[in-house]
């Protein structure tokens, strides 16, 4: 018998600097420590079936993220407390539910805090008006993304010595633009140094599908 559970959790510093693969490994270890039997893949190198709905880039904090895991057993209601007792600082389990449906991400709200010069927002607004493009090279393949194909809105303003830029990003066919990439593109094009202090996913919208 296998049950798919959906765990909601938040991530903040310092755990935000754990990579996606390491997050999977970390949860595998935590479940093993709690003696919870997960379902493993078959084959030479079995690994547990833990799936993060949205992969989290290194450095990203988030108010609410989701992973789903298949268990060989039923989980008792105190699982959230048990996990919270042994989670490293920065990670917090929020709730768990039995996953009977599937979910997809529809949109995301981001907040980026950067250290930059006074005039940052003026130039950033100018940059955003020019319908910017992000070229990303990965293993020799270049993907081109028009920022405004994914971006619903943004706002740039000064907050307590830092610049705060909020983005509302649309997920189109499972694809989206990362705020860090927009900022990098801007800083290269305008030759303005902007040092990221914090990137946070404030809210994620989900669609439930059957």
């Amino acid at each position: 018998m296998a049950n798919r559970y959906r765990f909601y959790f938040s991530r903040d510093l310092p755990a935000a600097f754990i990579s996606h693969l390491d997050m999977t490994r970390l949860f595998e270890r935590l479940f093993r420590r709690l003696d919870i039997k997960l379902k493993f893949t078959q084959g030479f190198n079995p690994h547990p079936k833990i799936v993060f709905i949205l992969p989290m880039p290194v450095g990203l904090c988030s108010k609410e993220e989701i992973f789903e895991v298949e268990c060989e057993q039923e989980l008792s209601s105190d699982i959230i407390d048990s996990l919270n007792k042994i989670l490293p600082e920065g990670l917090k389990m929020l709730k768990v539910e039995l996953a009977t449906d599937k979910i997809q991400v529809s949109d995301m709200y981001y907040q980026c805090f950067v250290e930059a010069e006074e005039e940052f927002c003026k130039y950033f607004d100018e940059f955003m008006k020019k319908s910017p493009i992000i070229n990303k090279e990965k293993e020799g393949k270049v993907t081109v993304k028009h920022v405004w194909n994914f971006l619903l809105s943004y706002e740039c303003k000064k907050v307590e010595g830092n610049i705060k830029i909020s983005f509302h990003i649309n997920v189109v066919n499972g694809s989206y633009v990362k705020p860090e990439d927009i900022l990098r593109e801007f800083s290269q094009e305008y030759n303005i140094e902007c040092r990221i202090v914090r990137v946070e996913r404030v809210k994620v919208g989900y669609k439930r599908v059957i």
Partner: protein, 613 residues
Amino acid sequence: MIVKDKVFKLLYDVEKPGRYIGNEINIVKKEPEKVDIRFAICFPDVYEIGMSNLGLKILYHLLNEREDVYCERAFMPWVDMQKKMQKEGMKLFSLETFTELDEFDIIGFSLSYEMSYTNVLKMLYLCGLPLESKKREKGMPIVIAGGPCTYNPEPLWEFIDVFVIGEGEEVILEIIDLYKKYKFSNMAKEEFLHECAAIEGCYVPLLYNVGYNPDGTIKSITPVSENVPPKVRKRIVKDLDTSYFPTKMITPLIEVVHDRITLEIFRGCGRGCRFCQAGVIYRPVRFRSAEKVVQYAKELVENCGCNEISLVSLSTSDYPNIDEIAREILKFAEDKKVNISLPSLRLDSTSLDLLKEVEKVRKPTLTFAPEAGTQRLRDVINKNIKEEDIYSTVKLAFERGFQNIKLYFMLGLPLEKDEDIIGIYTIAKNIREIYKDIGLKKKVRITVSTSFFVPKPHTPFQWEAQDSIENMQRKMKLLKENLKRVKDVEYNWHDFYLSKLEAVLSRGDRKLSRVIKRAVDLGCQFDDWGEFFDFSRWEKAFWLENIDWRFYSDRKRDFDEVLPWDIIDTGVTKEFLKKECLWAYESKTTSSCFERCTGCGVASFRGGICIGK
């Protein structure tokens, strides 16, 4: 907290930021204000290498068992992080509380390999401390060092206040007690160092004078005063069952080199290979009881959650009833999807069956280390592996579905002839033949790796010359050309210059400390990392100090030469090493400690299997 915030700001822009966040499972948290002594364990390499080191974890937890001590960790930042730290004017910090290292009482370096010496100096630079022991006053951290490299401490003599020789579990606590007395009184640093030298296992280099002969060899090593011991005897723990072992072991959040639980099942090796330093310095063999091994394994799996547990030792097959123990652990490990790995297993039919059973999860690569290509040369080095045994095991292995075979050899061993090199080719060829004869359809992969012999202190070959670079090159080419003729064989060889530098540093004397400092100033760091190692910089450093490196590597010593490491007493006598060396010249083998006592001298420690002999 300010340092912590500063660090985190840098992490958005560096490779693998998880190296610098601490916060691991089973990390020890204390309030720094509430302890008497703050201790920083420093590992002179990146986090992923350092956190794979068992000794570091043992000492970390052992020190933190004490309420009056808070032990934290620091690793060598990668170059990108170093640059950022430098730009921000930040010093090296600890991972537990993000405290800059010059605020600690004691800084302890773990010296696992000579190639990290430049990183030791680099880390001291990053701490903002004077490099030389003499220039560090009371109020600045005491810098100590332990680990296998301290068996020849001389190349780092200027920089380290106290070297801990041997196993640290007990001696470290004695040093802390003494340090407490020093810290909370008006005891001078010099007085502290003198009292330290009286602790068995502590070598304080400043308290010894070295005199040289006109030819550059050492004339004498003499203590500066009567109450400083003329020789420093290594420390061992007599009984592993009663000695400390942490089962709530710190477990990294990011993938490290050996990403698994390591459980030490015994210490030492009784085999006596004549090139092997570990075989001498970790003597005598001391077994951990089966009950303890199984109990620790259980606790470790429960506390760390890793998916693999590795039962480590220098020669796993020598553990009595290793199969029973492995099967006992398998009983609970299998259920939890935990793999057992058994490194350093001598391969034969019984161990193959065991491997098949315990390493269910992954298809292991079989590794053989015959070290030399012919029986004659294997007798010279006292490596007790018969060619026929390799073949019969390989055959069984192929039949059981193993497809990857790795073979390790050394080139440049004393008394080596070209036919010994051809012997390596013959072994690879015969293994390929065996595979062909079985008639399997799957592809086989045979990997032959060679490293160059590095004569190491405290071994029977400590007096030997290392091959010249030209000779190394010729031998490698000879083997390469021959191996080209065998199908499915891949040949890897170790960098010549790296072996050369290792030979220089491992048998170096005090004059090398200036060279190492020059090398660091010329930009040397991470010498063990191919992309950073640059022998020409080292050559320049030697040239600037007017020292010929060949003096240390390519020169054969007389038996009666005073060696830089003669100050260190491993328990194994020089007479024994000399006898072993002479026997090597005659290809005469010596039995293992398990058969009968070879009279090496270490029995004087009255520990392990030597008791009753």
